[in-house]
């Protein structure tokens, strides 16, 4: 504290203003994160696209009110905007719009199933392995490496070979590979966290392992895991579509985007929309998820600040 009273007054004023400034900074930390999210174009485009697709998948069938199985042999291969069929009809005269909505629904369901499975199993496995170490960890790592190295499509084809065609083996196969991918990253994060002082301090203070996991480990691995999960949602969507395309995923009459592309491929010259529209829907779906993933990573991943590295003393 300065002995000079005048200087002391100046200091108090300055301190107040600095405090104000820092309070503003602190309050805006959350707001800044939100603003960064708002200003992040990737995230914005991804979210908008995602909402459009989600809306179509959830409410499209309700709004259009047609049955996706209804065939009409007088109205086959109609182009988009023909009467009664906004997106036209396919080779059996079925309305493409409603089939597209249901197809999106199937994609979303598969993605949700796969991601739930992969997140729960992956986080549990990764945390157990990373935290306990020793033989458990070696087993987890071995299993994860074993699965992770395999191409998704090959695993799915093998599962389909074993369990027969349908969505279930697809979910299982993609879920398995994604579990390995997530477990791998979670394990790595936990290994790093375990060395950190605050975890060691919690340990030393006698906090139970479960509590440390819940209070300290999970929140810290949440952001990277969510970013990763959004990538694997995209992977799941593409994998389901590809498998349905070759005939291993969704079985008729249930429409699936991949299946629709496959059905339409023989009529490209007649009415290419039968293959291009569902393909576009897949692209939109995947694009939205991966843009959201990219955007989240930009906002959360501090490693991106490496461009400023070397600036601090």
């Amino acid at each position: 504290m300065p002995t000079d009273p005048e200087a002391a007054r100046y200091l108090r004023e300055w301190d107040d203003r600095l405090q104000d400034y820092e309070d503003r900074q602190r309050i805006t930390a959350v707001r800044q994160l939100l603003r960064r999210m708002g200003r992040n174009r990737l995230l914005l485009i991804g979210t908008v696209l995602g909402f459009v697709v989600l809306f179509l998948g959830l409410f499209g069938p309700v709004i259009s009110g047609v049955d996706y199985r209804t065939q009409s042999f007088r109205n086959i291969h109609r182009p988009p905007f023909s009467e009664g069929h906004l997106l036209g009809t396919d080779e059996l005269g079925r309305d493409i719009a409603i089939r597209l909505f249901i197809g999106i629904r199937v994609s979303l369901l598969v993605a949700a199933g796969v991601t739930t499975l992969a997140l729960v199993a992956g986080v549990l496995l990764g945390m157990t392995g990373g935290w306990t170490g020793g033989w458990t960890d070696r087993a987890v790592r071995g299993g994860v490496d074993f699965v992770w190295g395999f191409p998704l499509i090959l695993v799915a084809v093998l599962f389909a070979g074993g369990l027969g065609e349908g969505l279930f083996p697809v979910i299982l196969a993609v879920g398995l590979v994604n579990t390995a991918a997530i477990a791998r990253v979670v394990r790595g994060e936990v290994l790093v966290l375990k060395q950190r002082e605050f975890i060691e301090a919690a340990h030393a203070a006698g906090v139970s392992t479960v509590r440390i996991m819940g209070r300290h480990v999970v929140p810290n691995i949440l952001a990277p895991t969510m970013v990763l999960a959004s990538y694997y949602v995209a992977v799941a969507v593409v994998a389901e579509a590809a498998l349905s395309f070759v005939g291993l995923g969704a079985q008729p009459p249930l429409p699936s985007l991949g299946r629709m592309v496959s059905d339409g491929r023989n009529f490209l010259r007649v009415n290419h929309w039968e293959a291009t529209i569902p393909g576009l829907a897949i692209v939109m779906l995947v694009l939205s998820v991966s843009l959201i993933g990219d955007g989240l990573r930009d906002v959360f991943d501090p490693r991106l600040r490496h461009e400023a590295k070397g600036v601090e003393e």
């Binding site: 300065p2 100046y10 301190d15 003393e313």
Partner: protein
Amino acid sequence: MSATRSSTPGCAVPDRQAPIGPAATGAGPPGLALSICNLRTVIRTEGVDHEVVRGLSLDIQPDEIVCLVGESGCGKTMTALSALRLVPSPPARVVGGEVMLAGRDLLKLSNREMRAVRTEEISMIFQDPLTSLDPVFTVGQMLIEVICTHRPLSKRDATDLAISALGGVGLPAPHQQIDAYPHQLSGGMRQRVMIAMALMLDPSVLIADEPTTALDVTVQAQILDRLLEEQRKRHMAMLLITHDLAIVASIADRVAVMYSGEIVELAPVRELFSNPRHPYTQGLLKALPSARSKGVLYSIPGRVPPPQFPPPGCHFAPRCPYAVSRCWQQYPELTGEGLHQMRCFNPQPFDPS
């Protein structure tokens, strides 16, 4: 009081002619080895420029060791990087000033000319020798590559030069170690490699940025001794950045104390330690643990003001026990008599207790 302004362009730093330190013995050539003048560097964050080096001026004589001290974040490293034009850009950039070396302003050189100057005339040693060496190349590959960019030597001659440089800094078995990767060497050995690389082309100026901070205490002295020995042998000017005042006391000729991007006090080492005038320097010295300070350690209250929110007058005023109203209204210039200069309106005699 013959106050002389120094932070004006042209840098009329007083008593420039007066021989200082070992230069007084006439060992080095006349003139300055390095003259930094009114250097300004900014960092851009969220679209706004913040000054991190605020019009810094500093002269170094040949054969002289100047220590640059100050808290972390006060701009020591940025000053050094600015002089070599190595600031990470973006986000940082040098916006003004002069860095005179052998009659040329380094800030005005073309990129090609600047590259030729680095290592050949002015070198820099960095803090962490592990991350500062390329992990996927051997020590020899790096040294030889640097040699060959500067000298038209054959591979064999360049290798010989690299080996002798490594041997010269006390690396054991240099012709074997030359094929080692950085991770295969110990911290001290890596720093020797850095020193060899910095000195192998005989520069006239060396900037060492906390060269011993990342090392084990046991090898710190060895590395420092090696640096000093080389400096004396080559009559090289050296700018040593450190926050270890014990090192400063034992090796510096002059000391520049930096605070918030500018020099607040500049004096020959004895003068600075026996008669520190700036309250910040006094605080630094009081914070030194000594036999006298039993148990309780002094620390300067408060912290460095954020560069986004600089105080209106003297930047140290918010932490200064002797601040008067003028300190809050006006920006102090670097003034002083003879070699001892400081930036303070209200200097007080030093009370070490």
